[in-house]
């Protein structure tokens, strides 16, 4: 089957599907149906069917999905078999928080090194080494890094972005609160934290306005 791009909401449900499927005994339940999964996880059946169709096709009539195969396909979506190595630039508070954050490896990404231009934060003792920017280009090329995380300030973000692209990076996760220019073949995902908060504030004031009416 051609590999599909999986929507974020589906990806978010995959760990739940996996934890359910892994509790089944493969001998007794070689096949599992979307109906059974949706009941066990209290999810809508149509949603489960759509998710599984994206990951594994439509299943066998009356039987459903081969449990062992489905587990493998779901794990594949989360990159279990092949961790993607990422680098992070900007080991300030947000950068350090991301380095400390344990959840990425469950979703197939490992931050292999961080880089900073501030000599005082350089450290090779930590779980993830924090290296000087001078080593950035060589490191990325040597380790075939495809994924870069930008946690520098607004002023330096475009320069770091350009340098990432020059070093062969094809997907950028940007936390700097600014628009970045990338060529067409590079994926860019920006997290605008202020905007997320603004959205929540806006919903809150909307709710309160309506409550008063």
């Amino acid at each position: 089957m051609e590999k599909m791009s999986i929507p974020k909401a589906t990806l978010g449900r995959i760990p739940r599907y996996l934890s359910y499927l892994k509790e089944l005994s493969p001998d007794k339940e070689p096949y599992v149906s979307a109906t059974a999964i949706s009941k066990a996880l209290m999810l809508g059946e149509i949603q489960v069917r759509k998710d599984l169709a994206l990951v594994s096709g439509i299943g066998r009539p009356r039987l459903g999905y081969e449990t062992a195969v489905l587990i493998e396909q779901l794990e594949d979506c989360l990159g279990y078999k092949q961790l993607t190595s990422a680098v992070l630039v900007g080991a300030g508070k947000l950068g350090s928080a991301l380095l400390q954050y344990g959840g990425f490896e469950h979703f197939g990404v490992k931050i292999t090194a961080a880089f900073d231009r501030n000599d005082r934060v350089i450290s090779t003792d930590s779980k993830t080494p924090i290296l000087p920017m001078e080593q950035f280009d060589a490191f990325c090329k040597e380790h075939h890094i495809l994924l870069g995380i930008i946690t520098v300030g607004e002023g330096a973000a475009q320069e770091i972005c350009d340098r990432m692209i020059q070093s062969g990076i094809k997907a950028i996760w940007n936390f700097a609160p600014c628009k970045l220019r990338v060529p067409e073949d590079v994926l860019l995902q920006s997290e605008n934290l202020a905007l997320s908060l603004a959205h929540l504030r806006n919903q809150l004031s909307h709710n309160r306005q309506n409550a008063k009416q």
Copy 2:
């Protein structure tokens, strides 16, 4: 006009609309059209029309929007007139990064205090005071806090969430990588950072797979 809940994408464009409108001279340009705005900002006209309709209604035929009124309505959406006070619980690395982050006030939110159960991070010298958890309930009630930010670990998140709700908080921005239970009248927005990264990784591997074919 009844206050509408504004989609996140629209909110994200409002600062651009405002910076354009504020450059106009109100004497010479008392009215501005969606067409003029879309041309100046190189945005699709339909998108601009939809955004402005949400914020200000449909405008006057042939004239468009009254510039000064539109500016006020857009500012209102971003909470310029009335900053919403928020509290943050968990002044670790991620919490500190959010406290340091300058962008929230542009979007109408001010973090007035942070709380932590670790005595060593308590500080009233910093721009935003970091207070002991014992003061949390009284602070929220006294300052009528409606918005809470959770940056504690997975293990403590539900307890903090419950405590926020007991203290009158009506909207929660959660960074802990777990599902939280909230009553129906409380807004919950969870930022699953691992999931964002997983999505980017997945698109990356999808693109590379297709490039090989």
